[in-house]
Subunit: 428 residues, 2 copies
């Protein structure tokens, strides 16, 4: 792909030549819609309706309680976890697909704080990024209060120098939900470990979108989301990973019966399972977990075509195209690129900002069949964001072209100023 | 219904005269199966497959991210919670359908301990029942460790006298999962409050099965299960209730973004929502939550027919019949009734025990199309249990007759001694 301007015809050609182009047929996408919000809710895998219909009518309806064994519900959190492991550079038996990202973060951050308190009791700081996704900060705030520690928030550029000898745990989201900026996980872990801190990573905007190798990067703990690039459906269970060197050291506090060494012995005293098993808590929502299983399979379907490396190449190619088209067609409309221009620093999204009107512009685009989303800012430091997520499994080059074309129409016509595009809630 | 022995013909007549008999048609039950395990996994509502197919193909597939608003996903935890409130004597806006029972217990017990620590700092004991469902004890064990408190376990008969001035919180399951014995919630709350303790109730084996009035009973906190008598499907989200006098006093520690006063303001600092809202944490598994919504509707369908009072009358009538048939046909086979004979003390299940062979007998029954389940004991004090749950929405009098008949065949033929009926895991 050249660095120049791309015509619609060139984009059509890029799609035709795309070695991953066939993967789009794994999804059931609304006719005519350009969906650039897979970083918020991934598209429906074509295999999901039939698989879920079978789970509902046969496994639940006919098998009833027997399906816990016969349909494999019992170990589904581990089996889906093992599949996710292949996407994030973890090993078999190290990942669980359970609960929500927030609940999982509570578990792993609790464990990290207990380890830190034991190994380095003088370290009293959890370090994070001020623009981290809020739920991560809220969970950290709760745990810091519980452990009498300080949650210290710094800007992205200050993290490395903030890694002092008082830091117990560094907690970061790998790809920022607003800006799409991606940390160099290996470099950060390396610096944090040299300083004596543990690293907890939130992979919500990474898993299924960018290459990850948790072991090579020497990470300590990670959590991630099932309903974004893993295409697990609305509110799909999340996942968590704990490095084997940590997993048996302490309990995590959500010590429900599924994390017991022998859950069906029904003993009154808690004995945590060895390994990742102790990070289970209660019974998991099987229908949603089965949908996640199907969603993860769509990402694994890329393995024969080059896997995450190939998906990442295409993702970058798509976001690069987006940037080029913006530069060519949208200059002079007050839109600024917030997501990094440098490939190695960019996740799988394009983020723009504008002094005024970001929300209305997103609404006007949605009305024209281009679905991105809006993330409110809090002033100059964190301005309002127009977010366009790219999912290399189903986003086409022509989708990018049409999205920028629609944005051009919205801006040049001024239609976004129409009062009907008011402010309202949205969901990540 | 008389107290004498019932023939199959009499049972058929009871079904014909049953004012709730039509409710069975709300369920899709396997042909020929006698399902007495709805206390472990409720049956499939006939409306569920179509409703879920619509949620999957239309709301997820076509609506995509827009369905958070347009399909009402956003407030579904509250809307399902409001429906459950009608079944448990709670008020609108007081109940949430979220997460698992274990996770919810962690939230409410944490809140109760914070309140107790503030109001009565010298109280250092969480009192519970030794035969409580283990996950409740494990969660309490974790929180007691965190709060430097003692988890004190006593037998059921010792609870009232154990309510001393050192007890901060009394945590009980309303209907015991093994024995089916039911606490007098009003009397227990009354005694606990006079002693100065708060009461946390687990309604896992109560909601949808027995009459509940949390307000009349002056309860403080409650959690319950969605996949048993609420028919929400495998691993359906659980629910929680907090009395309004407590809900705004402290945070619960799982302070995820959904519990924030303004989740979509994306502020870095946590500000809990007023009321029950702060008991939300992360994004909920929508497909499983939608299934729960359908399941709860099956229980609400009894409202025009007398609601929970009518369901409770039928449930007692069924378990009473079970007991009578057992007495008449199964004496001399070493089976003893564990569930209470007194109606007011019995939940919606019949529990039996036998010195040997309980597991094999349950397996032999399952092979003959009668599905109950087995719960392992730990010796003389807590013997092995054969469990038969009765769901008044779909269990018929003839089902009870056939179940006892099959049990009679299994016992009198001695077929249960066959080596093929070995020991294995089961799921509540």
């Amino acid at each position: 792909m050249t660095s120049g301007f791309h015509s619609l015809r060139e984009c059509l050609q890029l799609d035709e030549q795309d070695p991953l182009g066939s993967l789009r047929s794994l999804f059931d996408l609304p006719e005519g819609l350009i969906y650039l919000d897979g970083n918020s809710l991934g598209a429906l895998p074509r295999a999901a309706p039939a698989r879920l219909a079978q789970a509902i009518s046969q496994e639940w309806g006919q098998g009833l309680i027997r399906s816990w064994n016969s349909a494999g519900w019992f170990d589904l959190p581990r089996r889906v976890g093992d599949k996710i492991a292949r996407l994030i550079g973890a090993r078999e038996g190290e990942v669980l697909a359970v609960d929500s990202t927030s609940v999982n973060l509570y578990k792993v951050l609790s464990a990290a704080l207990q380890i830190a308190r034991h190994d380095a009791p003088r370290r009293k700081v959890v370090l994070s990024e001020r623009s981290n996704f809020p739920t991560d900060l809220y969970i950290a705030q709760s745990l810091c209060q519980q452990h009498e520690m300080e949650l210290r928030l710094v800007d992205c550029s200050e993290i490395m120098q903030a890694l002092g000898d008082d830091v117990a745990v560094l907690m970061l989201t790998h790809v920022n939900y607003r800006t799409g900026a991606m940390h160099d996980m290996t470099a950060v872990n390396d610096q944090a470990h040299r300083c004596g801190a543990l690293c907890v990573w939130d992979l919500a905007h990474s898993a299924g979108a960018v290459e990850l190798d948790l072991h090579a990067a020497q990470a300590d703990f990670a959590v991630g989301c099932g309903y974004k690039y893993l295409n697990g459906g609305p509110g799909a269970p999340a996942f968590l990973w704990v490095h084997a060197r940590h997993s048996d050291r302490f309990w995590q506090p959500l010590s429900g019966w599924w994390g017991h060494a022998q859950p069906f012995a029904f003993e009154p005293g808690y004995q945590p399972a060895q390994g990742i098993g102790r990070y289970q808590c209660g019974t998991q929502p099987m229908l949603s977990l089965i949908a996640l299983d199907v969603g993860v399979d769509t990402v694994l379907a890329a393995e024969p075509l080059g896997g995450m490396a190939a998906l990442r190449r295409k993702s970058l190619s798509l976001t690069r195209l987006f940037g080029q088209l913006l530069q060519h067609r949208l200059s002079g409309h007050g839109l600024s690129l917030v997501s990094p221009q440098d490939d190695v620093q960019r996740g799988s999204q394009i983020s723009l900002t504008r002094a005024h009107g970001a929300y209305a512009i997103v609404q006007a685009l949605i009305e024209r069949g281009v679905v991105g989303d809006f993330r409110a800012g809090d002033g100059a430091e964190h301005p309002d964001i127009l977010r366009f997520g790219v999912c290399p499994l189903y986003t086409r080059y022509v989708d990018i072209w049409h999205a920028v074309d629609a944005l051009h129409q919205v801006m040049s016509s001024g239609v976004w100023r129409d009062a009907k595009y008011g402010q309202q809630h949205s969901v990540t």
